[in-house]
């Protein structure tokens, strides 16, 4: 492996190019017409345009991406996350083209792509799954026996249904009969079948996931866990490692479950096995496996001191985990990551597109920034609006949290509205500080109304507004800037603003 084509964009493409460079490999970027000048193109040794702005015609265009690999002489493909990263047909096409696929073999992940077959694999591997039972005996005794096995609260679900229709939460045995009869009626009319099953409902569930690595020599290890319970509509917002509500015994059990699941499918490369953790019962249940590098991989890297992208590349070229992870894997301290999005939380989280007039990412001890954008870059409307991830490490959670908040206060993004104020508010929420969050917490807490940009009416803001008017006439002479003072030298501080129009696009 000499040259790696990165089939992605944004911060992850920049991140992967850096990993390639560590091993002396060259990095090839692909880009859409909307991304011709993008940061990830500038981070690579070479780049090839693979189509128009729409993802379906560019970043998802298998033929164009394989042609780009051929044209540049790339001998391997790293898919990043999203786009084609979990597309089995793409994996097979890459291998058929004689290229190395930096990820798991298609045959390993095909059996776990559907939730039901993945659950069967988990059970075969001895990994706990949420208890469930098919209601084939609909007598009072029959449903009570099934419910006693599953436990309360539980969900009654139509077997052939979907979209939550007919689904009912039941909290106690006394309500079960009515719920089952109602669900049967709804299921019969909606899906033509009144077959039901029940499943454990995990209250205040926490999202805990296990980072795993597998090599081509049959070794599978876990790299400990991450907690990602702060989510907005199933989109992770804050991620951290370790999960500080787990006891050492619980941590060992959940991490071993992750490893066992990956070993069961013969997993190769970096992957993540996701679990729900029930904080009342102190049990974990298998959710699904993500067969790619995750957005939040830096929190693991930060606490275990392993470069996961480099590990992926070394595994792909056949190295053994015992060499890659010489000395073993241990957790040290605590890391927290936030995702900085170009979105307006105060306006229904509307995604923002535009030009980044000015960007200043934090630069502080124990803080890492994985950014896909710099000052002047365009944020196109066609893709996920994540601008960067900011990760802070501390000897404990509080130290990491304070460092991250300080880093966010230092973060400047002009030109598009971002979620930075919301992230700052979140990190200061008492429930977050006390680690009393669950996967539904953020939606309950902020819903569609979240802290947006602050208001400013005092001196600093007014002076800055006025000073802005002076930028223009002086802008051409850098040396003069430091010396010049606002005053008689400039008769009209608003000269620079003279070209403005209200509602410019009209």
């Amino acid at each position: 492996m000499q040259k790696v084509l990165i089939a992605n964009r944004g911060e992850i493409a920049v991140r992967i190019a850096r990993g390639c460079r560590v091993l002396g490999m060259r990095a090839v970027a692909v880009y859409s017409e909307a991304d011709a000048l993008a940061r990830h193109v500038r981070a690579a040794d070479e780049a090839v345009c693979v189509g128009p702005a729409e993802s379906a015609l560019s970043y998802l265009n298998v033929a164009a991406i394989l042609a780009a690999a051929k044209r540049t002489g790339a001998d391997a493909i790293h898919p990043g996350y999203g786009f084609l990263s979990e597309n089995v047909d793409f994996m097979r096409a890459v291998v058929a083209a004689g290229l190395t696929w930096i990820g798991p073999p298609a045959d390993a992940i095909a059996p776990i792509q559907s939730k039901t077959s993945a659950k069967a694999v988990a059970q075969a591997a001895g990994v706990p799954t949420a208890p469930s039972a098919i209601l084939d005996d609909l007598s009072d005794a029959g449903i009570e026996k099934a419910a006693a096995f599953v436990g309360f609260p539980l969900l009654v679900k139509p077997q052939d249904g979907g979209g939550g229709k007919g689904m009912q939460r039941v909290d106690r045995m006394a309500d079960l009969r009515t719920a089952v009869d109602t669900a049967r009626r709804i299921a019969k009319s909606a899906f033509g079948s009144d077959k039901l099953f029940i499943e454990r409902y995990v209250e205040d569930a926490r999202h805990v996931e296990v980072q795993v690595l597998g090599d081509t020599h049959g070794t599978t290890v876990h790299c400990f866990e991450r907690e990602c319970s702060v989510q907005r509509r199933h989109q992770k917002v804050i991620e951290e490692s370790p999960c500080n509500v787990l006891t050492a015994v619980e941590r060992e059990a959940i991490c071993e479950s992750g490893r066992a699941f990956a070993a069961q499918v013969g997993y190769v490369g970096a992957g993540t096995v996701e679990f729900l953790f029930d904080p009342q019962r102190r049990e974990h249940y298998f959710l699904e496996m993500n067969t790619r590098l995750q957005v939040e991989h830096p929190v693991s890297e930060t606490v275990i001191g392993v470069d996961l992208v480099v590990a992926q590349l070394r595994i792909a070229r056949g190295e053994k985990l015992q060499d890659i992870l010489a000395g073993g894997v241990t957790q040290r301290g605590h890391a927290i990551e936030v995702r900085v999005y170009a979105e307006d939380p105060a306006n229904g989280y509307a995604p923002q597109a535009g030009t980044l007039l000015r960007v200043r990412w934090p630069d502080a001890p124990f803080v890492r920034v994985d950014a896909g954008f710099e000052s002047g870059d365009a944020v196109p409307m066609f893709y996920d609006p994540m601008l960067a991830k900011i990760i802070a490490w501390g000897r404990d959670r509080e130290e990491a949290r304070h460092r991250l908040m300080a880093a966010l206060r230092e973060t400047v993004v002009h030109g598009v509205v971002t979620n930075v104020p919301m992230l700052l508010a979140l990190l200061a929420e008492p429930a977050y500080v006390a680690s009393e969050v669950h996967t539904g917490w953020l939606d309950k807490q902020y819903g569609n109304e979240a802290p947006g940009m602050g208001s400013a009416s005092g001196l600093t803001a007014m002076a800055a507004l006025a000073a802005a008017g002076q930028g223009g006439p002086l802008a051409s002479n850098g040396a003069a800037h430091a010396a010049i003072q606002a005053g008689p030298a400039t008769s009209d501080p608003w000269t620079a603003l003279a070209g403005w129009r209200a509602g410019g696009a009209a």
């Binding site: 307006d344 306006n347 229904g348 989280y349 509307a350 995604p351 923002q352 597109a353 535009g354 030009t355 007039l357 000015r358 200043r360 409307m381 206060r409 400047v412 993004v413 002009h414 030109g415 930075v420 104020p421 700052l424 940009m453 602050g454 208001s455 400013a456 009416s457 005092g458 001196l459 600093t460 803001a461 007014m462 002076a463 800055a464 507004l465 006025a466 000073a467 802005a468 008017g469 002076q470 930028g471 040396a479 800037h481 430091a482 010049i484 003072q485 606002a486 005053g487 008689p488 400039t490 008769s491 501080p493 620079a496 403005w500 129009r501 209200a502 509602g503 410019g504 696009a505 009209a506």
Partner: protein, 174 residues
Amino acid sequence: MKRIFESPDNSRLELLATPSPGGLLLSWSAADGMTSMEVLARRAPNGDWLLEHDGITRPALVSIDRQSVWISSLDAGDDLSGTVRFRRMETKRGTTGVDLGVRSPMTGRVVAVHVQEGDIVEKNQPLVVVEAMKMEHVLRAPRAGQVRKVACQAGQLVEGGAELVELLDAVAAT
């Protein structure tokens, strides 16, 4: 020279800056009344602003685009924390009211227009619905007023920041 801005909280802000021996004499009137102060503004080689008042200098970053001035300050001080955006407003000739441009918060497609020219609208009344990345976004009237112009139609693609509806302040409209 006087300039009028819309504060991040949609309140109206008038700012007057005149050269003075000590730098700039600033006067502004906002929701909390009228204030005047003298400030010395210096610009660092990297473009940052250093704003001195009463012998104390505070740093600020300022960026300007067609519609807005973006300001960030590390020093939270009394009034400015993180990044704030001021939208510029203009008093147009021939009217006594202030135009309140309602702009698209993002690049996207207009899916519905709920008002016509001349309509009297209440504060928070839905004006236009814009869709981007599969999310619908309702633009509401920032204040009571009268629709002076509708600058978009359903189905149209609009840029982020484009003015979609012009409103006339209720004071001027009545």
